[in-house]
């Protein structure tokens, strides 16, 4: 059944697998090619085709000149917004989740089990159940339509995942190690710095990639709690589609889509192994 020679059945397997892989790549290929075609060319043929003349200018227009809603500054400000939300929220939620995961798995304290149980419920509670309360909280904190507000939301909501990831990883560290360190007089922080953190890089990479990808790609909170120039790039893409509905600019739009998708695609390209580990770790809760 698992011979490595090229029998007809194996040729068939390769054929089928390559065909499906090609189908998965088509959307990416279409966007890349379209981002290099002129609007007129696309209008004459279809979205699917090889560029006759390479319109590299699409990227410059999409990045810095294109009009989204009433502002004509391209996608750049929104990319910046997304970065200013994703990066701090990823770092803070990962650090806090790491300490919390360490506390509930190794340090142990009264009530650790029930509070961890409640925190992980956050993985299941739909965003729609939190939209209204967040509206009120942001209003009372004077953070409506600010990036700080989005950072706050993503940090607190991210804790459910980061704590879960770290806790499940730390639980494999032998308790004896911690007990011995405590007998030697090491406290909460010392044990964290000296024992737990040095063992953590694999899970921290998984957590950072997971958080960054999710926050960068998030749309609902972005579109609900920010408007205009404060929106993250996912919301800006929707606004862009709406503002060109009359005169489509598919070449420039494709370039904008590529730019918006690039950060998480790069993360996936370089950290794919950790990305997949996060996916499966999140699945087997």
């Amino acid at each position: 059944m698992r011979e490595a020679s090229f029998t007809p059945s194996r040729v068939l397997i390769y054929f089928v697998v390559s065909l499906i892989a090609a189908a998965y790549l088509v959307p990416l290929l279409v966007v890349v090619l379209n981002s290099l075609r002129t609007a007129e060319e696309i209008a004459q043929t279809s979205m699917i085709g090889w560029p006759k003349q390479w319109a590299w200018g699409n990227y410059a227009i999409a990045w810095g000149e294109f009009c989204i809603a009433q502002t004509c500054a391209g996608i750049r400000p929104y990319m910046l917004n997304s970065a200013l939300v994703s990066i701090p929220a990823t770092i803070i939620s990962t650090l806090l989740g790491s300490v919390a995961g360490y506390a509930v798995s190794l340090w142990r304290f009264p009530g650790d089990r029930w509070i961890y149980g409640v925190v992980t419920l956050g993985i299941f509670l739909p965003q729609q159940m939190r939209l209204l309360p967040w509206t009120i909280v942001l209003r009372d904190l004077n953070l409506t339509n600010t990036l700080t507000g989005l950072v706050l939301i993503h940090t607190i909501q991210g804790l459910s995942f980061t704590t879960l990831f770290c806790r499940n990883y730390y639980i494999a560290i032998p308790q004896e190690l911690i007990r011995a360190a405590r007998i030697d007089g090491a406290g909460f922080y010392r044990i964290f710095w000296r024992i737990v953190l040095p063992l953590s890089p694999p899970i921290l990479i998984v957590t950072v990639i997971w958080q960054f990808t999710h926050i960068w790609n998030e749309f609902l909170y972005g579109v609900t709690f920010t408007s205009g120039q404060q929106q993250p790039v996912t919301a800006a893409l929707i606004a862009l589609s709406a503002s060109v509905a009359d005169i489509p600019q598919h070449g420039v739009q494709s370039a904008a889509v590529m730019i918006a998708a690039l950060p998480t695609l790069l993360v996936y390209l370089f950290g794919g192994r950790y990305f997949v580990r996060g996916l499966t770790a999140g699945a087997v809760k």
Partner: protein
């Protein structure tokens, strides 16, 4: 003696004061996370029983928001769509994922590259996926236009603007985006099937087809349940993909519960109705998750006894 006791007490107090930062760093994030979950969920449930419209107000209207919500065309269409979308998407994505996993498990060359190709859509946002598929499926510029241009002028692929079929465009995009996830879990499952079982079946002279039907697939069913539950959870909360792909249209033909919630809360300013729709969404989710949690609990207890 009293002096020593007082001294001891002071040392204890001092010790606790010194441990305060550690106490805070443990409890503050955990309490914020747990507290916001409970408080936010309860608050939304409370709003769903009030007569709130533009702003939350107190008062009690019983189940009126729920009955009114369920009587709207929006909700009925959204619920029917959820059934269609949920079943179609989960079935197709599980079958595709399983098929891909079995193909990749044949010790083929370039497995890593192929796996990366099937998984890359997961790294992209639903907004990007929806936007790109809205172009491909748009009869005026997408696949239909291409095929028409190639000479087959009577070719029609206009589900995107067809009220009956539009929901299936969301199925297509969703399967493209997340069947790789099913594949990854199935592949992990295939790799962990007991090698002795396979060897024993081989000695018994089982061919590949029999092997899969009798030995390998039965061993995969716990993973299948997990995959189905996770995909259902995704289906129930789908929002971004629809916003980017069809915007809920044509008309309201591709409404889903999450879009109804948003529509009532933030576009019509009917907070209580929107909250009721959100709670209904949660109930649908619980109808999937609670049996799953019970099943997982029983399984764990069984394996603990075994």
């Amino acid at each position: 003696m009293p002096a020593a006791a007082r001294n001891g007490q002071r040392r204890l107090a001092l010790d606790q004061l010194r441990r305060l930062p550690e106490f805070l760093i443990i409890w503050v994030p955990l309490l914020l996370s747990a507290g916001h979950l409970i408080a936010f969920a309860l608050w939304t449930i409370w709003v769903s029983f009030t007569p709130s419209t533009l702003v939350p107000v107190s008062g009690w209207v019983g189940l009126r928001n729920y009955t009114a919500m369920m009587a709207t065309r929006n909700w009925q269409i959204a619920f029917d769509n959820l059934l269609l979308f949920g079943c179609g998407f989960v079935l197709l994505s599980v079958l595709t994922g399983l098929g891909l996993a079995i193909l990749l498990d044949q010790r083929i060359r370039g497995e890593n590259v192929l796996r990366s190709i099937f998984l890359y859509p997961l790294a992209v946002s639903f907004v990007v996926t929806g936007t790109v598929w809205s172009w491909l499926l748009n009869p005026g510029i997408g696949i239909q236009k291409l095929v028409n241009g190639l000479g087959w002028t009577s070719f029609r692929f206009d589900w995107l603007i067809d009220r009956e079929m539009a929901i299936w465009t969301i199925v297509i995009a969703a399967v493209w985006q997340s069947s790789g996830f099913a594949m990854a879990l199935f592949l992990a499952g295939l790799r962990s099937v007991d090698a002795d079982l396979i060897k024993a079946a081989q000695i018994d002279g089982a061919g590949p087809v029999r092997m899969y039907r009798r030995v390998i697939l039965p061993a995969l069913w716990p993973i299948t349940v997990t995959v189905v539950v996770i995909q259902l959870q995704f289906a129930i909360t789908t929002f971004d993909l629809v916003r980017a792909l069809t915007g809920g249209g044509p008309g309201i033909a591709t409404q889903l519960p999450a879009l109804v919630v948003y529509d009532f809360m933030f576009q019509r300013g009917l907070l209580a109705r929107g909250a009721a729709a959100a709670v209904l969404m949660l109930l649908i989710l619980l109808a999937v998750l609670l049996p799953y949690a019970a099943w997982r609990y029983l399984q764990r207890r069984q394996s603990a006894h075994a």
